[in-house]
C-alpha cells in the first residue's frame, strides 16, 4: 500500500489534485492511503514552496499546480 499525501491549504488546485489521484488509483487498482495535509507548519516542513505538493512514501514528488495524469500514474506504478 502506498502512502500518498497531498500538501495544500484547500485551494481549488489542491482539491483537483486529490480527486485526480483517487481516480488514477481506482483506475489502476492500486491500494493507496491518501491523506490531506492542510496545516501550514507541516506543509513547509516538507520543503515545498508551491502548493499543491504531493508526497509518495515520504518523498516529495511534485510541487506547484495540478499534476498531470501520466505523472500520477508513474508514482503509483
Amino acid at each position: 500500500m502506498k502512502d500518498v499525501k497531498v500538501l495544500g491549504t484547500g485551494c481549488a488546485n489542491c482539491r483537483a489534485t486529490v480527486q485526480r489521484i483517487e481516480e488514477a488509483a481506482r483506475a489502476k487498482g492500486v491500494d493507496i492511503q491518501l491523506t490531506k495535509v492542510e496545516d501550514m507548519p507541516s506543509i513547509v516542513a516538507y520543503g515545498v514552496m508551491a502548493t499543491p505538493g504531493v508526497v509518495v512514501d515520504g518523498k516529495v514528488v511534485h510541487a506547484g499546480g495540478v499534476p498531470r495524469k501520466e505523472a500520477i500514474e508513474s508514482w503509483l506504478a
Binding site: 488546485n13 489542491c14 514552496m49 508551491a50 502548493t51 506547484g64
Partner: protein, 343 residues
C-alpha cells in the same frame, strides 16, 4: 493524435510555425470582422453594425494576444522555478536585491495560494524580509494576464508603463520594509524554523517539456479568463452609446485630487483577478476617468486584497501586515498622482 505529438517531437519547428500562424491570424482580424458583419442582416453604417464589427474585431484580438502572451510567459516561467529563484536571491542584500527580487517576481510562476510556503521558503534560506516582500508584491501585481489585456485594450505604451510602475512599487516598498527591520514581527513558529540550504534541484528540462508547460498555462489561464474578457468587451461596447462620454470625468478625472486615494481605498478590500477588473477599467477610462486614478485602482485591487492578508496572517504578526499594506498603498498612491500629473 498527430496534433498533440508534433509539438513534443519537434518543438523548434512547432514554435516557428505557431509564431507564423499567430501573426497571420492577427493580420486578418479586420477583414474577417468586416466579412462577418457583411454576412449579417444589419446595416454596417448603423450603430449596431459598428458595435458588432467592434465586438467581432476586439474579441478575437484580445483572445489572440492573451493566448500569445500567456504561451510565451509559460515558456519563460519554465526557466524560473521557485527553487531556482530562491537560490538566485539568497545571499543578496541592499537595493539591487530588491530590484532582482521584483524582476524575478514577474517571471517566476506564482499563485497566491502558494504565497505562504514561498514566503517561508525564502525566509528559511536567509533571504532578507525586504527582498522577500519585493518578490511577493511584484508577483501578483505584474502578471501576464494584466499585461496582455492592457496591451490588447490600451496599447503597448500603457502596458509597458504598468510594468515599470508595478516594478517600481514592488522595489521601493520592499526596500522600505527592509529598512524598517520588522523581522521580530514574523510569527514565532516561522522565526524558529530551521535554516535550509538554498540549492537548485537537479533535473534538466527539454524544450519539448517547456512547450508542454506553456500549453498547460494557456489551457489553465485562458480557459479560466475568457468569459471575463468577453463580458468586458461586451460591456465596453454596450456602455459606449448610453453613458455620457464625460460621466466619470468630474468624479474620477484629473481635477479631482481626492480621486486617487478614493480609488485605492475602494480597491484594497476588493478582490478580483486581472481579467475581472479589466472590464471596469475599460469602462472607467472610456468615460473620462484619469489614467493614473484608474491604474491605481487596478493595482490596489490586484496587489492588495483582504483574502491575501488573511493568508499572510499565518506567518506575519498584525503590525507587519499593516506596514505591508500601508507601504504598498502609499506606493500605488504616488503612482496614481505622478501619472495624472505627467499625462
Amino acid at each position: 493524435m498527430i496534433a498533440a505529438t508534433w509539438p513534443s517531437a519537434r518543438p523548434k519547428s512547432f514554435l516557428g510555425v505557431a509564431a507564423i500562424a499567430w501573426l497571420a491570424a492577427y493580420s486578418v482580424l479586420v477583414p474577417v470582422s468586416e466579412a462577418i458583419v457583411a454576412a449579417l442582416p444589419v446595416d454596417r453604417a448603423s450603430h449596431l453594425g459598428s458595435a458588432l464589427q467592434f465586438f467581432f474585431y476586439d474579441t478575437p484580438k484580445v483572445l489572440l494576444l492573451l493566448t500569445g502572451v500567456v504561451f510565451v510567459m509559460g515558456l519563460v516561467n519554465s526557466y524560473f522555478t521557485p527553487e531556482r529563484t530562491r537560490a538566485m536571491l539568497s545571499g543578496r542584500t541592499g537595493g539591487l536585491g530588491n530590484v532582482l527580487a521584483a524582476s524575478l517576481g514577474v517571471v517566476t510562476p506564482f499563485c497566491s495560494c502558494s504565497a505562504v510556503p514561498l514566503f517561508i521558503g525564502f525566509v528559511q534560506a536567509g533571504i532578507p524580509l525586504g527582498i522577500t516582500f519585493s518578490f511577493l508584491i511584484a508577483a501578483p501585481m505584474v502578471n501576464e494576464v494584466a499585461l496582455a489585456l492592457l496591451l490588447a485594450l490600451f496599447g503597448w505604451k500603457i502596458a509597458l508603463l504598468y510594468l515599470a510602475l508595478g516594478l517600481a512599487v514592488a522595489i521601493v516598498s520592499g526596500w522600505v520594509i527592509g529598512r524598517l527591520r520588522m523581522e521580530a514581527h514574523l510569527e514565532d513558529w516561522v522565526r524558529d524554523l530551521a535554516r535550509t540550504q538554498a540549492s537548485v534541484g537537479a533535473g534538466s528540462t527539454t524544450l519539448a517539456q517547456r512547450v508542454q508547460a506553456a500549453f498547460a498555462a494557456v489551457r489553465d489561464i485562458v480557459g479560466r479568463v475568457w468569459p471575463y474578457v468577453i463580458a468586458g468587451i461586451a460591456i465596453g461596447a454596450a456602455i459606449h452609446g448610453y453613458v455620457p462620454e464625460d460621466f466619470m470625468a468630474g468624479l474620477m478625472g484629473r481635477e479631482a485630487w481626492w480621486s486617487v486615494p478614493a480609488a485605492v481605498a475602494i480597491g484594497v478590500p476588493m478582490y478580483a483577478n486581472a481579467a475581472g477588473i479589466i472590464p471596469i477599467v475599460e469602462a472607467l477610462l472610456a468615460k473620462g476617468a484619469a489614467l493614473g486614478t484608474v491604474l491605481a485602482f487596478m493595482m490596489s485591487v490586484i496587489a492588495l486584497s483582504l483574502p491575501e492578508m488573511v493568508i499572510l496572517r499565518k506567518v506575519l504578526k498584525p503590525r507587519l501586515i499593516a506596514v505591508f499594506a500601508g507601504v504598498v498603498a502609499t506606493g500605488i498612491l504616488v503612482v496614481g498622482y505622478v501619472f495624472n500629473a505627467v499625462l
